[in-house]
Amino acid sequence: MSGNDKTNGHGVALRVHACAKTFADGTRALEPVTLDVARGETVVLLGPSGCGKTTLLRIIAGLETPDAGGRILFNEADVTRVPIERRNVGMVFQSYALFPNMNVSDNIGYGLKIRGVSEAERKARIAELVALTGIAGLEHRRVDQLSGGQRQRVALARAVAARPSVLLLDEPLTALDAALRERLRGELNRLLRTLGITAIYVTHDQAEAMALGDRIVVMRRGAIAQVGTPRDIYFAPANRFVAEFVGAANILEAECNAGVLLLPGGRLALANDAAAAALNGHANGRIFAMIRPESIRIIAPDGAALTGEVDSVSFVGDRQRAAIGGVAGKPIMVDVPNSTPIKAGDRVGLSVDPGDIRVLAGDTA
């Protein structure tokens, strides 16, 4: 471990090799998963509850052992059989898990104390961490005298105090209210960059995943649905599940003929590569196409290739979101600027840049 630089530029390259998990009662929580995480990278495990993301995190932590054949490597060293207390990981829990019988600085310094770090060194490190996490002045408080946000900061400081190889965060912001969650998300992002630590972050909140992840691993039913940068995941979802889970998406099931989607509301031309993807293996037939609500523009209905009727409009603050019926099988969502007057019952034309239409590989529902 490099203890020489003060900003803690440390952490390991992590490799998860074919890790599956079957519980004693026969439940398969995780299909064999392989994943590489670079040194200093933040990877977010994203998925609905029961998708196996927490199980994967616990296997990396050493709180669960993978089924036979699975291996966890820290910098190429096999740690699969190393118990969590000797794995040098930092963990942050949704419930904070602060020790109620210790004050703030004793909580933060606990890992250092166990490692036999001298009191003077401990104090210096604690001072450094309370400053970094913005909780200076609270060192002698009991943990029940702290707010939720302060508790989570203490938990974070405690987790990184002993300069762990990997920082593991299990839904750390879920228990906080929305405004605080957003603020702490920003701080957490800054902190992870400052520390330059390898981090695995579990969440079911796609906005959190987008904001924090260098890469996102979308999981579903114990398997990886897609791995990619937030932009990859958002703009080029691998399948229908990812498209619908990350952000808002219109999924159109339609007949495709020579690069043109035939919809009840008209025709929609695909870009060349999308058309190629559609034809690949599908020939002419029914395909699934995804269009994000913000990629659709409202135009005059006369002469438009695609038309429909506004079902409803809801104001969401920075814009309005309209549901347009009669275009496809079900109403499609369109983001409309507040400056555009639109109301239920209007007949509208729709225009989509062919490049913004993504043909999805099969229906993997």
Binding site: A61, L63, P83, I84, E85, R86, N88, V89, G90, M91, F93, Q94, S95, A97, L98, F99, P100, N101, Y110, G111, I114, R115, R142, D144, A155, R158, A159, A162, L168
Partner: protein, 271 residues
């Protein structure tokens, strides 16, 4: 009728009950304690008379030893039983809590069957060592009986507390490098402290005042409830019996009050 008057009236039944069954008998007991020919000095005798003092110390030591042993045994078994599921677990828990149903006399009887003159331990040691071990009628026998009596009361409280422990607390400690013993010392035991104090206080109070078991076993040991009984029935020494009763009550009450104030802090800290 104003709301205040109504609320005041609601306390009347409680006030009558407390007066009739607590304040008046207690006052009477305190007065009786001072009614002997030694007057108030009877109270001083609890501490000054060598026999009374020895009995008081004996009783406190026995109750303390019982409480500590009960806590140790119940904590280990409670942790194990709450965290491991195995065939027969429910039966074992039922057996451990079974003594709740027994009066002290039955517990004393069982100790005699185990360690009395015709007891199992006597038989076995006679055959193996050629020397019959009998300790039912001694302090050890009483200790064993109280232990048997206290474990069910304590173990249920501790099991409930273990169930409420947040497992992520232990996981957090382990992630920080704490081995199994360290986790127990730094996380589990402090988190269980309120349960120890609450159930320990009950065990202590029970052991201080238990009579049935002592009456069945205690032929050559003096514990406070036995002393009160003999002073009262055999010597008709009402004043001493009353003074000793007040003393017993005060010691027990003080321990419970101490535990409550201490426990209150701990509970607040665990919140």
């Amino acid at each position: 009728m104003s709301k205040k008057t109504f609320i005041g009236l609601c306390f009347v039944p409680l006030a009558i009950l407390v007066a009739a069954f607590f304040v008046l008998p207690m006052a009477r007991l305190v007065v009786t304690g001072a009614s002997g020919h030694d007057g108030l000095r009877t109270y001083a005798a609890i501490l000054l008379d060598p026999r009374y003092r020895a009995t008081l110390i004996n009783t406190i030591l026995l109750a303390t030893a019982t409480t500590l042993a009960t806590l140790v045994i119940s904590t280990i078994s409670g942790l194990f039983l709450q965290r491991h599921h195995f065939p027969g677990r429910a039966v074992l828990i039922a057996m451990l809590t079974f003594p709740l149903a027994f009066p002290g006399v039955v517990v004393g009887f069982m100790i005699i069957l185990l360690a009395g003159r015709q007891g199992l331990i006597g038989d076995v040691t006679l055959r193996l060592l050629g020397d019959k071990q009998v300790f039912a009628y001694s302090l050890q026998g009483l200790f064993l009986g109280y232990l048997y009596f206290s474990i069910p009361r304590v173990i249920l409280t501790i099991m409930a507390a273990v169930e409420k422990l947040d497992p992520s607390l232990e996981e957090a400690a382990r992630a920080l490098g704490a081995g199994p013993w360290r986790v127990v010392r730094d996380v589990v035991l402090p988190a269980l402290a309120p349960a120890f104090i609450a159930s320990g206080a009950i065990a202590f109070a029970t052991a201080m005042g238990a009579f049935g078991t002592a009456f069945t076993l205690a032929t050559d040991i003096d514990v406070l409830p036995m002393l009160i009984y003999t002073e009262f029935t055999l010597s008709a020494n009402f004043a001493v019996a009353a003074a000793l009763s007040v003393g017993l009550g005060l010691v027990t009450w003080a321990i419970l009050a101490l535990a409550r104030s201490f426990g209150g802090n701990t509970v607040a800290a665990a919140g």
